[in-house]
């Protein structure tokens, strides 16, 4: 399987899980690359979560600069948001957000 097909399939598998409300792949500017939500909601989520991710990463790296943030989970009453942040040292950071609702 080509790489892109494999990646797409993994994404599809994640989306197909019971309990997953939405999945988003967003680049650093907040432009969605793949999303299952409408654009305005995606952009809103991307903007908000980007800041939080940056802050979280800054916190982690402040404590130990050789450390880095690998994953961020936010549990709320209704949902759980899971953020896999991108790598900041490459020119484009990619972030993957998954929204999961409790069942």
């Amino acid at each position: 399987m080509t790489l892109i097909a494999e990646v797409e399939e993994t994404l599809k598998r994640i989306q197909a899980h019971r309990g997953v409300v939405a999945t988003m792949v967003v680049n650093a500017e907040g432009i969605p690359i793949r999303t299952t939500l409408d654009n305005s909601t995606t952009v809103q989520y991307a903007g908000l979560l980007h800041q939080l991710t940056m802050k979280a990463r800054s916190t982690v790296r402040d404590i130990d600069p050789q450390n880095d943030l690998t994953f961020l989970r936010i549990r709320s009453k209704k949902h759980e948001i899971m953020v896999a942040p991108g790598n900041i040292s490459i020119k484009i950071t990619i972030e993957l957000y998954v929204l999961l609702s409790f069942f």
Partner: protein, 783 residues
Amino acid sequence: VPKQSQAKVTALSRLNSKGKAGMQTPSPLSWCILGIICREGMPVYSVFDDEGKDVTPHPLFRSDPNTVLPRQGKLLASSAYFGATGSGFLSSFSMHQTSGVNGTLGSFSRTYGSSSTSLSNASTTESVLDEIVEPEQKRSRLLTSYNFSDVQVRQEEIKEWTNEDLDRRVDIYLTETETIWILDMPSVVVSVESEDAGRVLERNRIYVDICKNRPGNDRFVEKMMQTINGAAKNKEVQCDKIIMEDKGMLVTSWDLYDSFNVSEIEPTSKYYHVKTVFFPYYLLSGSTTSSLMISESAVLARIHEEEECHSEAILTSENFQQNLFFMERILMENIFQPKLAAYRQFPVLIGLFLIGCPAAVKEAKQEEHDKEKDKEEQKDAFVDPSILLERLWSYICDLTSGHNVSTMAWSKVNPDLLAVGYGAFDCKEQKKGLVCCWSLKNPMWPERIFQCEHGVTALDFSMASPNLLAVGMYDGSVTIYNVRSCNDAALLDSSESSNKHTGPVWQMRWVEQDRGATGDGKKERLICISADGRITEWFIQKRLDCIDLMKIKRTESEKKKLPGEKERKREALISQQAAGMCFDFHPKDTNFYLAGTEEGHIHKCSCSCNEQFLETYRGHKGPVYKVAWNPFSTDMFLSCSADWSIILWHQDSQTPILTFSSTTAFVHDVMWSPKSACIFAAVNESRAEIWDLSASILNPVTSCFANPRVKFTSVLFAKNTDCLLVGDSKGEVSVFELQNLAAPNNNKVRFTRTRWWSSEACMLVWYFIPPKGASVKDLANRY
């Protein structure tokens, strides 16, 4: 000259004549005062100097006080002083004058001249300059009147300024004037013997008297005078706006760290450098992504030509794949968390309550199990609580559904990694096989998928090289995969070997054997048994190289002629070989092993003897699907067969010790528990059973029923936990948790064995073993 002023003038003149001796005021000009500086309304006089030029001082008052106020102030002050001091000052002043030099007055006139012309000109500065530049001319200009009328006349005299004159460019030169002496009274020294000495002394005495009389004298009045502040003139200039920017930055320790390490990262992409330049900015407080967008836009501006493949680049980037991987794992963890905790034998949290040990969970969930009957049966006889099977999850995905699970094996180093081979048992159901490596962390999608040409019938992980997975297939070929790579291709293949099997490879094992001869310590060998009647050892060249793949030599270390019956002669190999179905090496001494055949015989063979069996165990009426040595009581072994029975053997006895038959179905698989000496699991087509020999030898302590259309085909114990994996014919590998298992009593082997031997079973067995041919099974069952 009017009388009023004449007196003063006269005084002046008198003094002029007198005071010549004392004064030596150097001055370039010699003046002679004929008039007096008067204020407005007073008579106007003219002053002529020696040459006859009119150097009349101009009047003090000007209708435009702003421009001349400073100088006017001085002059007024001096004039007021004139009036106040009276003759005394005048005398001194006149003394100054009598020298005939009046630089001061000359300067006054000069200023007058300037101030007068200022009125008449539109530009003040011009007048001043004109005055200064051409003092002589101004002096020659005479003011005949000191009052307003004079000024106004002067004004009328001036011609009308036209616009051109106003717009005319005027050059203004600012220079420093000569020093203007307001008052210069140098002291004079006279010898006492000169003829003027008397006069000088007299004058000095008068002066002293004046000074003495000064305080309190009415003629001396102190008066304050307010100087007029210089009017400031504001001049505005417009220049280009100086653009200022504030930049703030939050310095963090990782920022410093990154900046120091920039040089270590290879400068391959220019974007990175740009990024480091902009690096600090993204932390600027501001709107959501705008700060980063600023830097990003600068970066992206340079790569606009690659816009179209951005999203592709993003999706295929390694980082993203890793993110996806993590995300999937975490989702699985979310979904399966209670099950995984049970697998790891943590206390399971249900809701908000800590249930405690799995025993309590079992109490709560008894209705799920259909073992109440068995439990009650055993309760009468035994005190131990029964073992329960609780289903946790299944390893299944779309890819594997529909395939028959034929074999399962754990990885030797990672106890959470499971390899499952999918392939049909029957020759008529053959389709493409599949090998999947499942990880505990993702029960919904396998980590590795290897597509195989034929149905997979056997597989095993290597111990020496834990990433090697050997797979045996229905067509007799053996393949070795490297599970480290995601590549689907096989690492080594036996397809070009000339000696490969012609029948399905029913079992294969990596066996560690002591090779004292080679002095190499433990060496691992790959042993296979297949339906063409051969047990073979496969050699893998030292270099796991694809080229050497062709050279997989199969030394036919044991070529067994498996006679179907005892009486059969040994004939030609090819036709007279019985199919081998399974084998198991002795756990303690890997030199000999058991081999089960299709005819129902179990042979004990030795690696050092290629020709003969050491022993043959006959008891099964159908193909022996599995033999397994007891890992603790190493003299006992189990065998299961298609004749619906499981037989327990002792290696010294050629007849079965015990037979277990609980159902009328093929028993596909049997396995000893790795923790207890008495527990084993067996799977026949409709049930998965757990037998506990210390509890009962007639019935399994627990069993789990399969779905109606599904048959169980293989069973595997988990090594690090009390779980049982059962594979079925629809491609599902179910994970069951064994609850209430007795504590692992592997260290009580002897005790168990003795106990077991001492129970009725052993006595019965020993009693029944010697006579051959007796139907042991009937007796055992009856008991």
